[in-house]
Symmetry: C2
Subunit: 450 residues, 2 copies
């Protein structure tokens, strides 16, 4: 039988893309399926949300990234279901595809821990659309505040609450503080953007809970220096249009904040749940699928799960974190395992994660980094961060642009991508919002009917 | 009386922005009102639509452009009405503002000549949102074609019709031809993007009707060389989901084209009609307001209309074209007239347009230019075009980025901003679209229910 083995990869994120690239010269036919036509460099999404970069600068069309992989085709469609017995993938357009080996790299999505209603008031930061929505919200808040005379309302519009103090939350808080203190400082006439309150909160006792303690402490100090208020050990009880209800050790508190951003937990996408039930795989409480040491699902030696959707354990039995590095190494591992099988070679050793460290940027020339066990902060950490991120993006055209954007921005504090576009929810309310507060504006004092 | 004169500018396009800048050191209080928070460099919008540039690269936040104009405040709101008798402007939030002098620079919007239903199938190119929608349509068309086996349907998806052969239409057609012939040439496995048919049509007997005839002829030849089919003297009778019905000298013809882009006529926005009726101003059939030689509306010496909304005549009695140059010179003129009045100086001479020429880019290193009466084409014209556009954008941060984007793209044919984002109309139909054609796809031949 001379038929080439068919490999399907679900998802074009870090895990899926690395798998496709590792299969480049293999004697297999690869189909990569994604609902978007681009690979997104998610760690920089907060820079799109805060107007530093355009979406096009942190995303690369999957087809062009894979254009030289002649054995690979890209399908732009949703995957609805996977049947591991007949070894088929069902697509949203009704078609289905057969596979010999399957790599599921479907990633994660934001979780509101059962409070889906909060999503409307506190967008998260997992997609380009959400990032543009968040940008919209942040910039509009300053616009509305500029037109409001009532001090309490103005304060509520200038209060930005970020829920979740992991890397994304810390980076967002730092960026919003810089927008308020630097970027916008000359842009308004009625308000002083520096009045803005930026509050970073988390239920954990400290920021960056997955980082070494000394770095978390340094990050906290940098945030305080930028004017960010850090509230740890705080539980969010409710989020609505006006703000949040939080529980601290003093009891319940109300916080008026018209801009709330969700940098909280993640959960698995619907396809992850479907896959777990079809394979009777064990999951953790977040729904992540427990995989064997070779990243396959037990009893399905042709079905690999990599990245955020998988829960793999390190030698000590601790689950690996949901970061790009893990997904990339797992994607490459799964691809190599498939190639060895096709070539009739013996199985490779179990997957082992090579931890290069963790990084979070806090502001202009300031970051914390744990690189191969060496702890750094301030400018040296920022340089490591910039180097690593540019090295990755280097595969794409965007590299030079991003670098120059950063150079311009860090020298001038300006942010070029500060556009309010699209029809986010807030857009429709803006005129109404202003109308409701117009009574308090100066301009209105002399209104005459036309 | 020591009160500073109040100047209101409606619109932050070329006319409004030049007016605000010309009022920088004047002893007046300026309020610039726009519905967007950014100034858009419209002549490059087609590059956003064709994935060369991100929106952030051709737009600059109005507040940051005007941050040093300390006498100017920016309002982000719609203007609903203007009362020239009480000298007030009514805003969408219910507030109203008083003025001593008013500059209306509200621009134009696309016109479907009464066929509003066509808008759904043939988006135009006047806003960032529309440009992203057009980009979405163009890229999706290739994606759908990749999955279709039926030759007639595939051809319809790979047919791109551009209605209107003015500068925007010519530039769009050239850019789409380059996408098909160069950018995407290695990206697909089932289709050859070069099969794409790009048809540029116009009712006029030639392309670029406002350009000198020799340049129009050269532009046409460049388009043909790029593989664009040019159809002049063609009337569009209907546009629907499947394509267009057109009338040529042979009679009625049907053309299957799943991507139709409207680069046709323009009309005035609602505010223009309101203003004309409130001032009893004369208008042309497109609704543009006839202004006096000093750009005011007859009987309203404090009410200036500039840019696309105004119809001003040159010394021969010909209306000035609706281009950025005219709007900019008019905006500056109106601002200076206001300053002279405030300073008690005599009126300046009537407005006179200084025509620097016209430009249209056709493709990589190819353009036609009429600069101060000198006719150029090919690379020299492209260099003039690039120089002039960069000189303008030079005011904004975007300048270096745009230049580098072009350099990369012209050397590599790649286009970095090829993202399909947002929820354009086509998005919702995509899965359904594919489902309806799935029967003809190869992948479907062996579908089994899961």
């Amino acid at each position: 039988m001379n038929r080439r083995a068919k490999v399907i990869i679900v998802g074009g994120g870090f895990g899926g893309l690395c798998a496709a690239q590792a299969l480049k010269s293999a004697p297999v036919d690869v189909t990569l399926i994604d609902r978007h036509n681009y690979h997104l460099f998610q760690p920089l999404l907060y820079q799109v949300a805060t107007g530093s970069l355009s979406a096009g600068e942190i995303a690369a069309p999957l087809r062009s990234v894979l254009s030289r992989e002649k054995n690979t085709r890209v399908f732009l469609v949703d995957v609805l279901d996977i049947d591991p017995l007949s070894k088929r993938v069902l697509l949203a357009d009704g078609a289905s595809l057969e596979y010999d080996s399957l790599i599921v790299a479907a990633g994660s999505q934001s979780s509101y821990y059962g409070h889906e209603a909060w999503r409307e008031w506190a967008p998260s930061l997992k997609s380009v659309e959400e990032a543009i929505n968040v940008r919209h919200k942040i910039l509009y808040a300053f616009e509305v505040a500029e037109r409001i005379a009532d001090p309490a309302q103005r304060r509520a519009w200038l209060t930005f609450a970020i829920v979740g103090a992991g890397a994304t939350g810390v980076e967002l808080a730092g960026a919003i503080a810089e927008i308020a203190r630097q970027t916008l400082k000359n842009d308004f006439r009625s308000i002083d953007p520096k009045e803005a309150q930026i509050i970073l909160m988390d239920g954990a006792p400290r920021v960056l809970p997955t980082f070494p303690e000394d770095l978390a402490e340094k990050a906290k100090r940098s945030l305080l220096k930028l004017g960010v208020q850090v509230e740890t050990g705080v539980m969010v009880k409710d989020i609505d249009k006006e703000g949040l209800t939080i529980q601290t050790h003093d009891g319940m508190n109300r916080m008026d904040a018209r801009t709330v951003i969700w940098a909280g937990g993640v959960t698995v996408p619907a396809l992850g749940k479907t896959l777990a039930s079809r394979t009777h795989a064990e999951t953790d409480k977040g729904g992540r699928i427990k995989v064997c040491p070779d990243l396959t699902i037990a009893n399905y030696p042709d079905l690999y799960v990599v990245g955020d959707l998988a829960i793999a354990l390190d030698p000590k039995g601790t689950p690996l974190p949901g970061v790009a590095q893990v997904a990339m190494q797992q994607g490459t591992y799964a691809a190599k395992a498939i190639v060895r099988r096709v070539q009739g070679k013996p199985k490779q050793k179990d997957f082992k994660y090579f931890d290069k460290g963790s990084l979070a940027v806090i502001g202009r020339w300031s970051a914390v980094a744990d690189a191969f066990g060496v702890h750094m902060s301030g400018l040296p950490a920022w340089l490591v961060w910039a180097f690593i991120h540019l090295t990755y993006i280097v595969q794409f055209q965007s590299r030079i642009l991003v670098f120059i954007q950063w150079a311009i921005q860090d020298l001038t504090f300006s942010r070029g991508a500060r556009l309010i576009t699209g029809t986010a929810a807030t857009d429709f309310n803006f005129n109404k919002e202003l109308a409701s507060v117009a009574k308090s504006t100066e301009a209105d004092k002399v209104t005459v009917p036309l």
